[in-house]
Amino acid sequence: HASLPLVINTWPFKNATAAAWSVLQSGGSVLDAVEKGCARCEIEQCDGSVGYGGSPDESGETTLDAMIMNGDTMDVGAVADLRRIKNAIGVARAVMERTDHTLLVGESASVFAENMGFIAEDLTTNRSLNTFSQWLKGNCQPNYRKNVFPDPSISCGPYKPRVTLQRRKRVRHMYRHSHD
């Protein structure tokens, strides 16, 4: 089963696939198609693992990661730990087209995005706030800390490093809607 053009994406995010395909059908580039397709999921918050209002970190904040790559030129733009900007893949494309860098991260990436005209807004929603408060009520479980005290498997932080380091098997963090 081989034919071109072709759009494939992870998970059953059908609207994103359709958005990308319609860009190709209307003469847009494959870069435009990927950007619009992923942006559709950012707007629709696909399964809670894309876009604002999902996956709050230990401080309750939602931060975004994204990248875009041009297979003809090997140009790449990416953002990580992006705060307060909803359209992460749009900022990733701006990194590719408006800098000679590849990856911008964190607060400074957000400042770059605002300078490039992206709107700063709160990425927290009632849903992410509720997820966060449930987590706090559940003694901050699950979490990604290890070799710290108090014991991260039963209590919240703040944490301090434990004097002794124990090598332990990685805890399986498999939560259906908590993934990259």
Partner: protein, 141 residues
């Protein structure tokens, strides 16, 4: 997380990802999605791939880059995807993860790592043989 790869009629290729990452992560934590060769990789002379799952583990193996290089060497997309997953499986037998791969002729495939609660991976395909996006799935290895 969404990982997407797109191929035009005349052989242009692009890849992209977007995600809000893992829930309850340590502030400042970055996953594999924005890391070139991990979250996604595209090369119009070989193909493209995009990965999804536990980014802390997957980024250490650059699965998307590996898959594209295997397709460059002639592997079919399904085999390329499976090798990329197997490489990680060797060190993290129960990691949560999946990958989609496609080469420049429009052949495509996917693979995922079987782990408790995850035995089938669903992904979307749209090409000119169907008039709507088609839901595909692959059994995990």
């Amino acid at each position: 997380t969404i990982g997407m790869i797109a191929f035009s009629q005349d052989g242009h290729v692009a890849a992209g990802t977007s995600t809000n990452g893992l829930m309850h992560k340590v502030p400042g934590r970055v996953g594999d999605s924005p890391i070139v060769g991990a979250g996604a990789y595209a090369d119009s002379s070989a193909g493209a791939a995009a990965a999804t799952g536990d980014g802390d583990v997957m980024m250490r193996f650059l699965p998307s880059y590996l898959a594209v290089e295997l397709m460059r060497a002639g592997a079919d997309p399904s085999a390329a995807c499976e090798t990329a997953i197997s490489r990680i499986k060797r060190h993290h037998s129960e990691f949560f993860g999946a990958i989609i791969c496609a080469n420049t002729t429009g052949h495509y495939g996917a693979a995922c790592n079987k782990s408790p609660g995850f035995s089938k991976f669903q992904y979307m395909v749209r090409d000119s043989k169907s008039d709507t996006p088609v839901l595909k799935s692959v059994d995990c290895i």
